[in-house]
Structures are given as C-alpha cells and as structure tokens.
C-alpha cells in the first residue's frame, strides 16, 4: 500500500484516550458546523427544480382535446383512464392494458381507495369485508416507506415486520407468517429500488411471494412499483412480473400493482396507475364508480402527448438520471471519505430510486438526527422507516438526496457524517 492518510480504525478498537481525542475532534467540527447557519433538507424524496423543468412542455399541453379514440377528454367519464396512456404504461409496467387503470395524480390515494374497498366490501377472492375480521395484519418489510405504515395505522391494521435485504423482503419469514396466521391479509412490497434500501426484488423472491401458501384466501400483495423506471445506472433493473407469476400459481388476485409519474413528470400533478388481474381491475373500478365520474383525462392526454411512446418515457428517465446520479454519487463519496473504516455506519449504494438507507451505530440514529437538526440539516425522523416510527435498534436513517442542489448535498452529507461520528463517539464513551 502506498503511504498516505492512515487507514481509519474502527472506533471500537480505540483506547479511551484515543476515543476522547476523536470525540473532541468531531465536537469541534460539529461546533464549527453549527456556526455556519446551514439550512439544508434531506427529508423527503422530492424531485428537484431541474428535474421538474424536464417536463416543462407539459405546461402547454395538450394539443387538442380528443384522445386517440375520439373521446373529448375535457368532459366527464372514462373511469379506467384514456386508452393510449394505459397502453403506454402497460408496456412499461409489463402488463396488459386491460389490467391497468390510469387515475388521478396520486398512487397513494389509489392505495387508500383499495384499502377502503377491502375494508368495507372485501376482496374479489375474499369471504367478507376486512372490517368484519377480528384482526387484520400486514407484513411490512423494514426499513420501508413511512406513508405505507401511516395508511395501515389509519385503518387500524396491525403490522408485523420482516427484514428487507438486497433481494427484497426476507421471503422465508414472509412465507412462514402468511402460512400460519389467517389474520395476515397482506403485505407491502416496493419491488424496484425500494424506499429506502434501493433493493430490487429478485425473480426468485417474486416467485416465492406469488406462489406461497397463505392462510388468508384473500392475501394481497401491495406491489408499489413507484420506482419502476427510476434507474441510476445503465444497468436498468427489470421488475419481476408478479402478476403473471401469481396467475400461473393460481393466485391471480393476490398482487395489486401501483405506479405513477409523480417522480417522472410533476410530483404533485402526474398520473397514477393501478394494475392487477382483470377481475381486480373491475372490482376497483366498480367501487370507484360509486364515488367518482372519472379521472382528470386532460392531464392524462397531456402526459400521453408529452411522452409519445414508452421509449419516450425511458428517454425522459435518462435525463432524470443525468441530474440525480451525481447526487447519489456525492452521498457515497462523502460518507466513504468520512466514515469508512470507523465501524459506525453502513449505507446503501442504490442503482435506482430516490433514497440511501444509512445505518448508524445502534442506539444513535435519533441522536444523529437531533444533532443534524440543531446544525440546520433536516433529516427524516429516525425510525420513520418502521411502523409506528419505531426502529427497535435506533439505527436507520433515510437520506433523500434528490431535492437539494449538488453542492448542498455534499455539504449536508459532510454535516451528517460529522453527526454520525460524534454520536457514535458519545455513545462509545459511555
């Protein structure tokens, strides 16, 4: 090895005096940080202005007001969405157009609608509404998406966690739970570039989820493919075709897929999609029609014209990648240069999606977030990636580097690294 900066040693290997010196060093860095009056925000997975600008042409679309089939998109009707946009995204999401609904601007709203329908009416393959069950429980891979957990909690649905690893949920743990307990009615999966780990569900894991025996006949996989097309490298992950796998296994109604253009065009003004068996789609649209006359088809036509084709969407995503991949690289660079070898943090290097999952020394995540906040760097609350906001190890922090500009990402990550190191030194000093 060439002579250079000495390789950092794990903090746990340091003697008391060395640790005190390290802690003092970090405290000094932290005090300097506080003096700088930062105001940086890594809390939410929001596209940056530059990303939103990629879709500027949407603001002056659509040209004309009829879809390819002659429907006046301005008027009422068309619960399932306009066909050309459904066809385009059916191609991208690997389903048949008849299996896909194009809705309003939010897939989260669609998830709530599906839960409401399950709650009040029951599933296509169910025997009663979920509200009439003594207990309903969902399997939640963790770390996961806080809004998924909030939604369950709103319905009074219990949660049981399984670990999320690089291949997706711990599928043996899932299968054991689902087989044993009929109150376990479903699970969340973010199959591609999961929030926050960046994991991609492998073909094998998807197949196991699709084929496993479940005690509940109406077990549902909420397959939230929010980042299906959100690659950060040339190695573009292909989402497993869970609908076909489930259908082949005799469980066609098990998966319900969600996706949207929220992080493709405008976060608040995109188009959301729901996919599933033809029966699930009819079930969803049937219930939807009791309280809706149709989605915003003007916005759907706007999107169809903007993209032009599935390839148009893929091209557009490459432009996103050019903007955000450097930010993810910066997160990794700064964390590596500041924390590697200290034995107090590991983090993901996602090849897609919107997040980096940072695991710090057990018992210090809350402290890191607190230190960062006091230094003007807003992080997602520690524990947010767990149901009830409770990370039993107080270890996980979700980093969202897309929204700030690149220099801010570096600055924020440097600050975070200081907080991680300081919190670890504090902890180990006790």
């Amino acid at each position: 090895m060439p002579e250079s900066t000495p390789r950092p040693r794990p903090l746990t290997d340091l003697g008391p005096e060395e640790l005190t010196a390290f802690r003092q060093e970090q405290q000094t860095a932290y005090d300097a940080l506080r003096g700088r009056g930062l105001s940086l925000d890594l809390t939410r997975g929001k596209p940056s202005s530059a990303q939103l600008d990629l879709s500027e042409r949407l603001l002056s679309l659509p040209d004309g007001t009829r879809d390819a089939h002659g429907v006046d998109v301005r008027n009422y009707g068309g619960l399932e969405g306009i066909r050309e946009l459904r066809e385009m995204f059916a191609d991208l999401l690997g389903v048949e157009p008849a299996q896909l609904v194009a809705g309003g601007s939010s897939s989260l709203v669609m998830m709530r609608e599906v839960l409401t329908d399950l709650w009040l009416k029951g599933a296509v393959d169910g025997v009663r509404p979920w509200s009439e069950e003594e207990k309903v429980t969902f399997i939640c891979p963790v770390p996961g998406y806080d809004r998924h957990f909030t939604l369950l909690s709103w319905f009074g649905i219990d949660t049981v966690t399984v670990p999320m690893d690089e291949h997706g949920p711990d599928v043996e743990a899932v299968a054991a739970l689902a087989a044993a307990d009929p109150s376990i009615k479903g699970m969340w999966v973010v199959p591609t570039y999961a929030n926050p780990t960046g994991s991609v569900v492998t073909q094998e894991v998807a197949a196991r989820l699709a084929t496993m025996e479940t005690a509940a006949p109406d077990f549902k996989i909420f397959w939230d493919n929010a980042y299906a097309l959100h690659h950060l490298t040339e190695d573009e992950a292909k989402t497993a075709d869970v609908l076909s796998l489930a259908a082949a296994a005799g469980h066609p109604h098990r998966p319900i897929m969600f996706a949207s253009t929220s992080k493709i065009t405008f976060a608040g003004a995109g188009v959301a999609f729901l996919g599933g068996s033809v029966e699930n789609v009819a079930w969803y649209v049937g219930h939807l029609g009791k309280g809706s006359i149709g989605p915003d088809k003007v916005n759907q036509l706007r999107h169809a014209q903007f993209f032009g084709s599935p390839e148009g969407v893929r091209d557009h995503m490459r432009q996103h990648r050019a903007i955000i991949a450097p930010k993810f690289a910066a997160v990794d660079e700064v964390l590596t240069s500041r924390l590697e070898g200290l034995g107090v943090a590991t983090w993901t290097r996602p090849s897609g999606g919107y997040f980096v999952s940072l695991d710090v020394l057990d018992g210090t995540a809350g402290r890191v977030v607190e230190l960062a906040r006091e230094a003007g760097v807003a992080l997602t609350p520690a524990g947010a990636s767990f149901p009830g906001g409770h990370d039993p190890d107080d270890r996980n922090i979700r980093l969202a580097p897309t929204f700030p500009e690149l220099p801010e990402v570096r600055e924020a990550m440097d600050a975070v690294a200081t907080c991680v190191a300081l919190a670890a030194a504090e902890k180990l000093s006790h």
Copy 2:
C-alpha cells in the same frame, strides 16, 4: 280570447272516443318519430363542447410554476390547496379562506372521502365512528341527485325521503325526522338550483336546517353547492350562508359544503372544494393526509390564472348562460306548446343549474323513458332521482338539456312530448 287553435283540454275530460282519437294521433306521431332514426341523449348534466371551449385557454396554462406565495406547484405538498384559488372561491362561496380546501378534480370524490372519514373515524362532534352505530340513516330530499343516493347505498346507509319543493327540502318534515331518531345522521341538500328541480333553498329553510334540534349530536348537512354560480337568468340567486347560520346556532360543525368548477371549466378536469368550520376542515385535511401528499396544484394554479378574480368566474359563468339558457327556453317552449293544458305533465322552469324536472302522469314515467329509448332518445332512467332508483309514483323524469346542440334539444323535447302524451293516453285508455 282571440280565436285560434282551440285551447287543449285535459285528457281526463275527454270522452272514450275522443281519447281513442287522441291516442291514435300520438301513436301516429310516435311511429313517424321512430322512423326518423333519432339518436339524441338527454341523460346526464354534461357541458356541451361549446361550453368547454370557453375554457380553452386553460390548455396552455399555467404561465410559470409558482403560486402567488412562491410555492412550486409542480412538487408535492399543500394538502389544503393553493391559497390564491382558495381565496377566490372563498369569496364566491361566501366563506373564509381558512374554511375552504381546494382539492382534486371531483367534489363527489370529496363527498366519498368525508363519508369514509365519518364511517371509520367519526365526526368532529361525534362520539364514535358511524360504522359502529347500529344504523345510519340519511334524509334525502326527492327528487334528488342519483349519485348522492348511490354513495349512501355503497356505505350501507339507509335513506328516508322528504319532498323537495321550490324553497328547498320540506324543512318541517326534515326537522321532525332529525329530532326523533338518533340514527338519522345527516342529509343531502343541493341548495342552489337543485338537481333536478332547480329549487333554491331560501334563507328561512337554511336557517331552520341550521338551527333545528337533532337527536344525533353529529348530524351533518352535506351541502352540495354544485350549481352555486350557474345562473340561467339575470336574477342570480345567492346561496344562504349555512355555515354562519349553523355556527350562530351553536352547530358549527353541522354543514359540510362541496363545490367544484366541473361545470365551470372542464367537467372532468376542474378543481373541487370542501368548506366547513375550521375544525371540520382540519379534521378532513388530517384524515386526507394519511393517504395523500397533496392535490394537483398545477391545475389549481391554471385555474387561478385563468379566472384572475372572483369577478372573472362570474363573467365566465355569463358566457355559459348565453350558451345554455336558450336550451332551457327551448325545453319549456316545446313542452308548453305540446303538453300545456293536457293535464298530463308539469315541469320546472329553473333559473339556474343543469336540469328540468318533468313530472308526467302518475305511473307513466317508466313507459315514457321506454318509448323515448325506442325512438332513439336517451333519457335518465325513470326513478333515478329517488334512492334505490324507485319513484313510488313512477312520475319523475330528469331532463338534461345542456349537452346536445339547440336544434337537437328541440327535436328531443318534441319526441319526449309525444312519448308523454302517448303514455298518458295509453294509461287513461285502460
């Protein structure tokens, strides 16, 4: 009286031979009608293309992507909607901006959301979720809006009807029901230019609804002000201020107001509003936030820029009036010339809204709709304006003259008049 066409005599005054002759005359007219191969549709309250064209400029808005307060409307957030649009419609709807939420494109969806929240969580002033009540009943003024009834039925909410007269619901009947039965949790009211009667709730009726004692502490008035600004004459009705009346009476959380631009701009791509006490608004937004990150603010900014001001909305509505008032006049003209004096039909002459309510000879509404269908004129199914689609008198037909072009409206109404007269003659011949 000058000599002219003999004044028509009520069919019930005709002798058997005269009636037979009249029936034969109508049958001949009807047969001729069938031979013409009409294809006309008066079923739904949809704006016509010419009306939709009034908002064409929306298609190339917004200019810029920040609202008046600097918020980037393209990104996530802002559950309650952008302030400038809330301020504009608060003015138009006679509420404070803090009492108004701007949402997605559908007020019907907001109604479903409110019912879902009441069902699963209970009201601000309630003691338990409505799903935990033994029974929940809504008072439904009839004739009324079919989608309101469908929504109730979806939740399993019972209905009890009261007559709708020209001043609004029969308020004494409402008050008696609400006072007597704690299962009666709410009611529908379309206060301005009601669907389908065109009635406008008077100040007195609104005050009685706002102040009446109700056995249920969490009684809710679903105040669906869909046609608040949809005048057909210069005599523009002003909606009673039910929120203030209810607040003054000590029932601030009783009314929840709904409105939208569906019949102002684009039927499928407008902006919907929910109004209520500040506590009701917080309750709604709080629940909304469990399954939504915010509405389509781009579309809200688009609307705010398009209108410019409350007066801009009023001006715009006058352009609608210029297009549709002649259609309503045509309905009245044709019905008058064909049916007046026969004693087999009465109809409303609304000064606003989207519908004419036609009452035919008892027991013939279904037959009229059937005859019309066979002659190529689609009418809303008889009974649609009643819960469960059941009109106990088989009397009411809702006419929606806005969508067809003016000559088609005349043609369709002439056909309808023939069907009404024929059905009546058939009925009286038996």
